[in-house]
Symmetry: C2
Subunit: 412 residues, 2 copies
């Protein structure tokens, strides 16, 4: 039966308070946070004291502009420590080092050797990338977040299934722990993108949102009341392999007619092939297809027009299903397909979804492109580490705490 513990509630309130500080860096007071979160002033005060004590927040002078009692301005202390976010994608591993203000300090992109895709190979590659970007900051790492493709079991840290390399039941967390001594946090790219939006994107304004990830693989992350909806085995959101067209295109998952086979990168390639089997878009490297398609579209090429229009139609029908089932406030489209095809794709998808979805839930939802500029998967992976670090008073009071005192005074 349902029951949140006092610790769960405290953790969620702590996250809410910090999210409000991230949303208004250097310009927020206890009162602003209480207004933004709906939490009581007393609760906010407690949370802030705790976060000031451990050096996660700093006070930056007082705002006396409103008259009355001056309000202490609060900000994240970026120097409190660093976080690593790892996006394990099909062709490359992306590693980013962030300060606590979530500014990228250093990045690395490590190509995946198609001949070396055993779990140990990837673990070696990732460990090398993490060690590279951390550099001299080994003592300041608060945690490393890993976005692992497929179905991931964060507690056991086991990658249940990874579609790119036919992994199954791999104890990937253990493999990484043998190579890195930092606190590790695993989940998949859908969850990573959604957590990134919750903390730093659309989630600043709404608590009920669906984040659509559109790259080779597609899927959704679902946030309800500001928290990830995971399902009973953390595999909720596998929209990419729901049926869009009964007995339709073959999907690389082995089934037919999946959403991914129409709106993922391979699906778009197939739609290009249907529109023009001789298209020069299909002759180059896969990474070049979307930029080239976007350029053709901007140049008014009719094949590009047809391909984006058709993809928008598929996407609109599949989005309508999500609108009807989840009745969300906001849907955010992100990742490479959204980055390159952006508004033209969304325009058609929105029109079709308006026709296909029930009118009441459609009238409640805003469809938009992600406003996150960096790789949302790396950012989300680093946010797993941030959440892990902040999860328990014991943890965030101790990890790197000697440096905390130093940086919170010398900080900004």
């Amino acid at each position: 039966m349902f029951h949140l513990t006092a610790r769960d509630i405290r953790r969620r309130n702590r996250f809410s308070v910090l999210q409000a500080v991230y949303a208004a860096p250097g310009h927020t007071s206890r009162q602003d946070i209480a207004n933004a979160t709906g939490l009581s002033f007393a609760t906010v005060g407690n949370m802030i004291s705790e976060l000031l004590d451990v050096g996660v927040l700093v006070e930056m002078g007082h705002d006396e502009s409103n008259g009355g009692r001056p309000r202490a301005q609060l900000a994240i202390n970026p120097d409190r420590g660093v976080l690593v976010g790892v996006d394990i994608a099909e062709t490359a591993v992306h590693v980013e080092l962030y300060d606590l203000g979530m500014t990228v300090l250093r990045s690395a992109e490590l190509p995946v050797d198609p001949a070396a895709t055993q779990p140990e190979d990837l673990a070696d590659l990732i460990a090398r990338g993490v060690t590279d970007v951390v550099g001299p900051d080994t003592d300041r790492v608060l945690g490393v977040g890993l976005s692992v493709p497929g179905l991931v079991e964060p507690e056991g840290g086991v990658s249940v299934f990874s579609p790119y390399w036919s992994w199954r039941d791999i104890p990937f967390k253990t493999l990484m722990e043998e190579r890195l001594s930092y606190p590790l946090f695993l989940d998949n790219p859908l969850k990573a993108s959604t957590v990134a939006e919750l903390w730093f994107g659309a989630g600043r304004d709404v608590d009920d949102l669906i984040v659509i990830t559109l790259r080779s693989g597609v899927g959704v992350g679902i946030a309800v009341d500001g928290a990830l909806y995971r399902g009973v085995s953390n595999s909720a959101g596998e929209w990419g392999h729901t049926s869009l067209i009964l007995d339709g295109r073959h999907c690389r998952c082995g089934r037919r007619g999946c959403v991914e086979a129409y709106v993922g990168v391979y699906g778009i390639m197939e739609t290009i092939r249907e529109a023009d089997p001789a298209s020069r878009l299909l002759t180059g490297a896969q990474a070049d297809i979307l930029p080239a398609l976007a350029k053709d579209l901007a140049d008014g090429d009719p094949v590009a027009q047809r391909v984006v229009d058709q993809t928008g139609r598929y996407l609109g029908v599949a989005i309508a299903t999500l609108v009807n089932l989840f009745n969300p406030r906001t849907m955010v489209l992100g990742n490479v397909i959204a980055t390159h095809l952006g508004e033209p794709l969304l325009r058609t998808a929105r029109q079709v979804a308006a026709e296909q979805a029930m009118s009441d839930p459609f009238s409640q939802v805003t469809l938009r492109l992600s406003a996150l500029t960096d790789n949302p998967v790396s950012l989300g992976a680093a946010t797993f580490a941030l959440e892990g670090f902040l999860a328990d008073r014991e943890t965030f009071g101790s990890v790197g705490s000697r440096r905390a005192a130093k940086s919170s005074t010398a900080g900004m």
Copy 2:
């Protein structure tokens, strides 16, 4: 941002405790309830005292069978009051009167005159039905729950949209309040069926379930952590009008290819027509089709076999979408189609869903028929009233409280 109030938590704990008592009538102790709910013994003790005080629960002697301290056995006090559940369906209004043990005391079925389907007509009909079944018990009514078809806004009590009669933005709660002086609680049949399962069916064992309603209209109710998932405007679960077959059959909602056009009663009629345009199943009354189809199936009729098999295939694909997106523990199929076609339909649907759904979430889910024997929509509507009555200490301490003292001593 997310925050449950102390009152929300208290209410959910109260519901959990009562659900545990309903699940083991007359055979449960404070200790059993603490075990079943995961709540602390102290919390359970507080909730039980409160419920004993107001006469909702009674103690029924002590069980000394385990040795040690005898444990007071607890039960619902059925005589504490009565609840009314109203299922407003397309062709008839079903009204049931329940005691607090949720035993049906009296029922009425009032046919809807196809020439009198204005909101006021239905409101008159319902008021007559409620007055009839309540009879001399007017002083003992704790609340009336109404299942209104379509999209319902429970707070404002407005039926946003009712598909049968083209209602739109009807202040139905106000119409009913003008006719009945009992506390009224409105929602739609999908939510009603799900609440009924949560309290008295599959929800006794699991907290994450999807309840599939299969009648003329089809749709789902979603329970997460033991509570209804509503979406931002209470329209989550409109599965019936998600696209199953792109540009497929015309649906009565005006769109094409909707799930309902394949697995609802009208969809099954169309599948019969496709299999045998001259089928005698199509010549009788609509209410007779499913029983006749079930009989033909039992008799080994090949057309019936083909129709149920094809319907099971459609259903399996549509179920796979739900499995992938929600990753639930249990899915329950209920209402007239499940009642009549039951296991044969479920068998095919389960096979197809196993192929179509991702293997991990499919391996986590149990698909089964509802075990609720009475109309789950009426039962769920009465449960809205039960939840409303129990929502606040102030309410359930006062409504009918003079009778409470009497019935809790004279009760059982």
